[in-house]
Symmetry: C2
Subunit: 332 residues, 2 copies
């Protein structure tokens, strides 16, 4: 049988490989989760929707799960990673822009004056995003992003940013996929900032990443077609934009959603309001020792309304400190 | 082995089913294509990119194929199917809009005066699209679309529109998928007009359909979250918009592209300009007897620039009359 599959039409299906993957997922699919209410709730849900004959059974094609990124799959402290990327990029581009020395928000950024930068408000934020993210082709921007991840290091953990990810959530993604789910990211972060990295970090390919975007435009560079990134917002995939992004990119309503902030509130409402079994999960940052502890008052990842309504909506609130045996892959 | 896979984690993988699928694809994967240059070119390309060791081998994850819809997968004569849908919808909604009797373009549409409708120009076209496509929730619009496909009939063939599809192209989609390709639609048509139908027609799920869109907005209907379709254009997935749509939705450059009109020109340039093996295919409508014959002068699906440049760009021009044994699934 295996030989027959291997030669057929050049499409190689290794049955042994599939079996070993599925088998591996069964031993303990969530080893970084402590036994308790949260882990049990996840396993109960997945077992139900994958058990033919169960009233809650869901066919494979409808098993879709959406995950926020900042604060849900990776850390968002002391600042959104993409903000740090933007500031690094301004510093890298500064030699080509001598005029920035006298021009906000760049003047403050180059001086390391973050209060000054913050004082430039939304106008400054937009100029920062556009100056750091536009003006290249899509291929060039991908190379810039990959280079940043290869060189920048997180200030607290002194490791590359792509290692500052939550091991229990990576296991949850793998567990869902092993059970026939298609896993998506739905993030307020930039779609082209995430896509070069998500497959290696989370096993999520570019087409399954939904995010905010700036306008890209097709043009010919000589006779070569390129897509150029323009200094204009296209889509903001945050708050009420998240269910819109899900509808646009996925075209179906997922049955599982994970988030950590009020920016995920509407997405959680939209997903869990669907008919049939639904699962909503909130990562509550309660662990100042291993990661950070914050919720209702945080400037990054404020969690207030969604936390207040979690019980009423039937959403699971994961207590990072109590529920997670490990936080990061590099934790002992 | 089969038993072990079936019980593992509730994720059912039927090895026998996979083998039978792959086996079926091998007998003659393209039975509705006549033997000849076109069929051979397709098979040669697919064989090369799926043969490990071949210089042109492409890993499974990078095997992506994009297909235009109107005129490439289904007919676009005597008018775009979605235009007929829009006109039918205006007639269905007319009793709720008595004011339309004195208001263009509706007055002309309701009178069956298509010259009068055409005379209202772009302004009329926009009003027609918005009146027929906006103002509902996404779920309601999906139901309207499904109902139209269940009841409307093509004027020439007297069959439902979802049967007016090109059997050789359906076989090509299946052949590519059997060889590890992921198949996408990238169409100027409305994304939410296509998605309810593409899985049953072509085996392409909603998440793999890229198309034009109007704005949708999240809101609460009482306490129930809904997405409402607004009378505002969001994205036009045609011409230079097609490579933009590919980049936004897929986040990678496909290696296979099929189109039939100048609206596909930039997409064909973008896909076939990538490094490594690439395949560009143009469906040339040359068969007035079984379908239609048109190209450089047609008002729907004009094929001029792309036809002129096909040889220079290395694109295969499929001659519908000579290359296709069958056109529609219902042909003898």
């Amino acid at each position: 049988m295996r030989y027959a599959l291997r030669v057929a039409c050049g499409f190689c299906l290794s049955v042994a490989a599939i079996a070993s993957l599925v088998g591996a997922a069964c031993a303990d699919a969530l080893p970084s989760w402590n036994d308790g209410r949260s882990k049990a709730a996840i396993i109960n849900f997945v077992t139900a929707v994958t058990s033919e004959g169960d009233a809650r059974f869901v066919p494979v094609g409808e098993r879709m799960a959406v995950f926020d990124n900042d604060g849900t799959l990776w850390s968002e402290q002391p600042a959104y990673f993409q903000l740090t990327f933007a500031l690094d990029r301004i510093n890298a581009l500064a030699p080509q822009h001598p005029e920035w020395k006298g021009q906000e928000p760049f003047k403050s950024i180059l001086a390391g004056d973050f209060e000054g930068m913050a004082a430039t408000g939304e106008k400054g934020a937009v100029e920062l995003i556009m100056a750091s993210h536009a003006g290249t082709t899509t291929d060039e921007f991908t190379a810039v992003v990959k280079d940043w991840f290869a060189t920048a290091r997180h200030p607290r953990f002194d490791r590359p940013y792509n290692e500052i990810i939550f091991q229990p959530m990576v296991e949850l993604l793998e567990y869902l996929r092993a059970n026939g789910f298609r896993t998506y990211i739905v993030s307020g972060g930039g779609i082209e900032f995430m896509r070069p990295m998500t497959e290696s970090m989370y096993g999520i390919p570019p087409a399954q990443v939904v995010g905010s975007s700036i306008v890209t435009r097709y043009e010919l560079d000589g006779d070569t077609p390129v897509l150029r990134r323009e200094a204009e917002f296209d889509f903001i995939d945050d708050g009420p934009g998240k269910p819109v992004g899900i509808n646009t990119f996925i075209g179906a309503r997922p049955i599982f959603v994970a988030g950590n902030s009020d920016g995920d509130y509407e997405m959680m409402r939209w997903v869990t309001a669907g008919e049939g079994p639904r699962f909503g999960l909130i990562v509550h940052h309660t662990d100042a020792e291993r990661e950070w502890a914050y919720d209702r008052k945080s400037s990054f990842g404020k969690l207030d309304k969604a936390l207040t309504e979690a019980a009423q909506r039937g959403w699971l609130v994961v207590d990072m400190k109590a529920d997670w045996r490990k936080v990061f892959p590099f934790d002992k």
